[in-house]
C-alpha cells in the first residue's frame, strides 16, 4: 500500500494545474480518492470530528444491496434460455455463467459511457468526481430487458446522464431518477425493442454457452404482465415461456421472464433488508409504496372486469409480478429524487405505489406502470415537500402572531 501511495504521490504533480496530464485531473482525482480515503481534516472552526460514513460508503452499500438481484438475474437469464430451448437439466454454474456473460457487456457499456461523461464534466467544472453513477450504472442493465442492444444502452445512458443529471448540476441536483430516465428513453424511443415477447429471454448462445431459442416452436417470452396486457377474454392463466402454469412461488423466487434484475421478489426483499438495516433507504417510502400498491390493487381486484385484465391480479400478485417491488426498494428510495420530508415520504411513496397499479391496470398500453409511477412521483416530490414545508412555516407564523398578541412582551 505504501508503494502505491508513494507512486500516486509521485505522479500527482503531472495531473495538477500546469502538469502535462492536467486534462485527466478528474480521472486521477477519482482514482486517488477511490484508493485512499482523503486525509482532509476538519476546518479550524466548527465540528472537529466527522462520522465515518461518506457518499462512497452509501453508494457501495446500495450496490451491495443490489447484488442478490444481480446474481439471481444472471441465474434466471440462463434458466429462461435453457427452458425456452427445451432443456430438461439446469446446471446452476452454467446458467450463472451464461447470465454473467449476458450482463457483463451491458454493465461495461453503461459504466464506460456514464463514467466517461462524469469524468469529462467533473474535469470541465473543476470538481471532484461524484460516485452517484456507481449505483446508476449497475441499475440500468438490471431494469432493461436482457436482449436490449448494447448501442441502445449506450445512447440511453448518455441521454440520461447528460439531460437528467448533468444539466441540473450533477449528483444531488437531479429531479428524475437517472436510471429510470434511461429506461424511459429506451421505452419511448425504441418501443419495438423494449417490449413484446421476444426481448425478455436471451435467445442466442454466448461464447458457445447456452442455446438457440426457436420462437417457431410455440415458445412465448412474454412476461406475466405482458401476457395480462394482451389477454383477451376467458380465464386469466399466466404461463412460463414453454406454456406451463406459473405459480406465485415461481414469481416470488423470480423464475419468470422480465427485465434482468427485477424478477425475484425474494432477492428484492434481501436487498430491502440490507438497505433498511443500514438505514440507507427510507423505510417510510418502502412501506408506503407497498401500502399504496396493495390498497389500489385491492380496489382494482374488488371491481375486477375483463376490460382491464390486470384487475384479476390479487393485491399480492401486483407486488410479485413486474418491477414494482424492485422499484419500491431501489428506485423510489433514491434520496435525491424522492420527497425529503418525513411526511412527504409517506405521500410520495403512496402515490408511487398507487399510480404503478393504476397504470398497469387501467392503461392496457403499458403492461408495467412502476417506471412511470416513480417518474411521476419524482416530478411531484418537490411539490409534496413544498406543501409539508409550508405547514411548518404556517405553524411558525401562527405562533408569532399569538406571541405578539400576548401583549406586554
Amino acid at each position: 500500500m505504501k508503494a502505491l501511495r508513494n507512486y500516486l504521490n509521485r505522479i500527482k504533480p503531472h495531473f495538477e494545474e500546469g502538469g502535462k496530464l492536467q486534462a485527466f485531473r478528474s480521472v486521477f482525482d477519482g482514482m486517488e480518492t477511490f484508493l485512499f480515503t482523503p486525509s482532509t481534516v476538519a476546518a479550524p472552526s466548527g465540528a472537529q470530528i466527522h462520522d465515518a460514513v461518506d457518499s462512497k460508503r452509501i453508494m457501495i452499500t446500495v450496490v451491495a444491496a443490489l447484488l442478490p438481484c444481480l446474481i439471481f438475474g444472471m441465474y434466471n437469464t440462463g434458466y429462461q434460455n435453457w427452458l425456452a430451448a427445451g432443456a430438461t437439466e439446469f446446471p446452476t454454474f452454467e446458467l450463472l455463467l451464461y447470465g454473467f456473460l449476458a450482463v457483463l457487456p451491458r454493465i461495461a457499456v453503461t459504466y464506460a459511457v456514464g463514467l466517461g461523461i462524469e469524468f469529462v464534466v467533473a474535469q470541465w467544472r473543476r470538481e471532484e468526481i461524484q460516485e452517484g453513477f456507481l449505483v446508476t450504472g449497475i441499475l440500468i442493465p438490471m431494469i432493461c430487458p436482457v436482449e436490449t442492444p448494447l448501442w441502445m444502452l449506450a445512447v440511453a445512458t448518455a441521454f440520461a446522464v447528460i439531460f437528467a443529471k448533468e444539466v441540473f448540476g450533477g449528483t444531488g441536483y437531479n429531479v428524475f431518477n437517472v436510471a429510470l430516465v434511461a429506461r424511459a428513453f429506451l421505452f419511448f424511443s425504441y418501443p419495438a425493442q423494449m417490449s413484446g415477447d421476444r426481448v425478455f429471454v436471451a435467445s442466442e448462445p454466448i461464447l458457445g454457452i447456452g442455446h438457440s431459442v426457436n420462437y417457431a416452436d410455440g415458445i412465448s417470452g412474454a412476461t406475466p404482465l405482458g401476457q395480462i396486457a394482451t389477454h383477451t377474454g376467458g380465464a386469466l392463466r399466466l404461463q412460463s415461456v414453454v406454456g406451463d402454469d406459473l405459480s406465485w412461488w415461481d414469481a416470488f423466487v423470480g423464475l419468470i421472464p422480465g427485465s434482468f434484475g427485477e424478477t425475484s421478489t425474494l432477492c428484492v426483499c434481501i436487498g430491502a433488508a440490507i438497505l433498511l438495516v443500514t438505514g440507507i433507504a427510507s423505510w417510510r417510502i418502502i412501506v408506503s409504496v407497498v401500502a399504496g400498491a396493495l390498497l389500489t390493487g385491492w380496489i382494482a381486484n374488488t371491481f375486477q372486469t375483463s376490460t382491464y385484465p390486470a384487475s384479476f391480479l390479487s393485491p399480492a400478485d401486483q407486488l410479485l409480478y413486474g418491477g414494482l417491488a424492485f422499484a419500491a426498494v431501489f428506485m423510489a428510495t433514491d434520496p435525491v429524487t424522492a420527497a425529503r420530508t418525513n411526511a412527504g415520504k409517506w405521500i410520495f411513496g403512496f402515490i408511487v405505489g398507487a399510480m404503478a397499479v393504476v397504470i398497469r391496470t387501467y392503461n392496457n398500453g403499458y403492461p408495467e406502470g412502476a417506471m412511470l409511477a416513480v417518474l411521476l412521483g419524482n416530478a411531484l416530490a418537490p411539490l409534496i415537500d413544498y406543501c409539508v414545508v409550508q405547514t411548518n412555516i404556517r405553524r411558525r407564523q401562527k405562533r408569532a402572531a399569538l406571541s405578539l398578541k400576548g401583549g406586554d412582551r
Binding site: 461518506d54 406571541s403 405578539l404
Partner: protein, 443 residues
C-alpha cells in the same frame, strides 16, 4: 414548579478521555491571556489600550464601534503585550502578560436596572452574553423577552457546569435576581436532570437527552421559541455568577473551570483558570507521548476552534479537547473498510457494539458533496425546524425563506451534531454563522 424537558433527537458519542473526577483543581498560572474579538460576534472592536499599558482585571480593552458603552475587558491584571492584526488591519487578538497580582477594577454597586445595564456593558459581562436572533452580543438597546441560562452541557466529554460551579451558587442566585430586573419575561435556568439546585426567582428546567439538548437554543425552542421581532438572551452559569458578583457590589471573580479532555490527554481533569489562558498552562504536559500531529481544540469535538498547543482558550468554551489530527493517515480503500468505525449510520458493524469507546481524529472521512441523503440533519436537531430546507435557503441567500423557516431561532452550535453526522461533509456551522451575519447586514 420545575419543568422537565426530555429531548430524544441528537447524538451521544462515546469518546476516550472523559473526566473521572469533576472537582476543579488549580491550573498552572497562565503567563498571558489572549482575547479574540471575533469570538464575540456582532462586536466591532476599537482598542482602548495600546501595547505596554498596564491593565487590571476588568479594565476595558476594546469598545464596540456600534455602541462605545459595550466593552471587552481584561480578565487578569498585567501589561498589554501586543494587539495582533491580520489582513486589512483586522484585529486578531490582544495579548496581555500576567503580573500575577490579580488586581481588580472596583465597580460601584448598581441601584437600579438602568445602572445595572450600563455596568454590565462597562464591565465586559454584557459581551459575554448572546442574543437571539443572530447569536451575537446583545445590542445595547436590546430588551429580552426571556433570558435563558444554561447550567448543563451535553457536548461530548463535557462536564456538567452545575457540578463544577458548586461554590458559586450564591453568586448565581444574585445573578438571577439581577437579570430578572432586565426582562419582563422569565429567567430560565437549565440544569441536568436530577440536579436539585433551585435558584429563587428563576424558572428551573431539568434537561435530559443527547447533544445538543443542553444548548440554549434547543431549550428555548421547547419552552418558548424566538419569533420574528422578539429577542432572548442566552448565557452560561459562570457568566451568571459574575453578573451576580457585579450586581451585589462584590469584586467579579472571573475565574472559570475548564474541562481538559480527549483521547490524547493522560489524566483528564477540571482545572480553574481565567478566560483566554494559554493552552500550555491548561494542558501542562498532561499529554500522551506521541509523534503524531495533534489537534488542540478550544471547545468540544463538535463545536470548537483548532487553537493549537501554542494557542489560547477561546470564548465561550469551558472545555479543551485534544485529539489526533489525522492528516498523517493514509487509509487504503477506507470506504470499503469492514472495521468498526465511529458512525451513526449502520453501514459499519460498529452499530452492533454500543459500548465501544472511540478515539477519533479530525479527518472529515470523505469528500464534500451536495446534500444527497435526506432526514439526517433532522434527526440531529431537536427543534421545530426543517434543517435541510433552512440550510438550502441559507446557501441561496434567500432571506424571506430563511425567516419563514425559523432562522431567528438558531445558532451555529445547534447544528453541531448535524455537521458531524452529515455524509456530505458540509460545514453547517460556518454556513449558519455566515448566514446570520449576512442577514443582520441586509436587514
Amino acid at each position: 414548579m420545575r419543568r422537565q424537558l426530555t429531548i430524544k433527537k441528537g447524538l451521544d458519542l462515546k469518546l476516550r478521555g472523559s473526566v473521572a473526577d469533576p472537582t476543579p483543581i488549580k491550573a498552572a498560572a497562565t503567563p498571558a491571556v489572549a482575547i479574540v474579538p471575533d469570538d464575540f460576534p456582532g462586536f466591532l472592536p476599537k482598542p482602548e489600550v495600546k501595547a505596554g499599558d498596564a491593565v487590571k482585571a476588568g479594565t476595558p480593552l476594546f469598545r464596540d464601534k456600534n455602541d462605545g458603552r459595550i466593552k471587552l475587558c481584561s480578565p487578569i491584571s498585567g501589561t498589554v503585550r501586543e494587539i495582533v492584526r491580520g489582513a486589512r488591519r483586522h484585529i486578531e487578538r490582544i495579548v496581555i502578560d500576567s503580573d500575577g497580582r490579580d488586581e481588580k477594577v472596583a465597580h460601584p454597586h448598581p441601584t437600579n436596572a438602568d445602572e445595572l445595564r450600563l455596568l454590565l456593558m462597562e464591565s465586559g459581562l454584557w459581551a459575554m452574553m448572546r442574543q437571539r436572533p443572530f447569536d451575537i452580543v446583545p445590542a445595547s438597546d436590546s430588551h429580552p423577552r426571556d433570558i435563558f441560562v444554561t447550567l448543563t452541557d451535553t457536548a461530548p466529554l463535557a462536564v456538567q457546569p452545575a457540578t463544577v460551579l458548586k461554590g458559586r451558587y450564591d453568586s448565581m442566585a444574585a445573578g438571577v435576581k439581577a437579570l430578572a430586573t432586565l426582562t419582563h419575561g422569565k429567567v430560565y435556568v437549565a440544569v441536568p436532570k436530577g440536579c436539585t439546585l433551585d435558584l429563587e426567582g428563576a424558572e428551573m428546567v431539568e434537561v435530559a437527552g443527547p447533544h445538543p439538548a443542553g444548548n440554549a437554543g434547543v431549550i428555548a425552542s421547547h419552552i418558548r421559541p424566538v419569533n420574528k421581532g422578539e429577542t432572548i438572551w442566552t448565557l452560561d452559569g459562570a457568566t451568571l455568577a459574575c453578573i451576580g458578583d457585579l450586581a451585589s457590589g462584590k469584586p467579579v471573580d472571573h475565574s472559570v473551570a475548564v474541562a481538559v479532555t480527549g483521547p490524547e490527554i493522560t489524566t483528564p481533569a477540571v482545572v480553574t483558570t481565567v478566560p483566554g489562558a494559554t493552552m500550555e498552562s491548561l494542558i501542562n504536559g498532561n499529554l500522551r507521548p506521541t509523534s503524531r500531529p495533534l489537534r488542540v481544540i478550544s471547545g468540544n469535538v463538535l463545536t470548537g476552534e483548532d487553537a493549537g498547543i501554542a494557542g489560547y482558550l477561546r470564548w465561550p468554551y469551558r472545555q479543551v479537547t485534544v485529539i489526533a489530527d489525522g492528516s498523517d493517515v493514509d487509509e487504503f480503500l477506507g470506504w470499503a473498510s469492514p472495521a468498526p468505525k465511529m458512525s451513526l449510520s449502520r453501514t459499519f458493524i460498529s452499530w452492533l457494539m454500543p459500548r465501544k469507546v472511540y478515539s477519533p481524529d479530525a479527518r472529515i472521512n470523505g469528500g464534500r458533496r451536495p446534500m444527497i441523503m435526506s432526514g439526517i440533519y433532522e434527526r440531529m436537531l431537536p427543534m421545530d425546524i426543517m434543517p435541510e430546507f433552512l440550510i438550502k435557503a441559507m446557501l441561496s441567500h434567500n432571506i424571506e425563506q430563511m425567516e419563514a423557516l425559523g432562522v431567528y431561532e438558531v445558532a451555529p452550535e445547534d447544528f453541531s451534531a448535524a455537521e458531524f453526522a452529515d455524509p456530505s461533509k458540509l460545514e453547517l456551522q460556518r454556513i449558519v454563522r455566515e448566514s446570520l451575519d449576512y442577514l443582520r447586514k441586509e436587514i
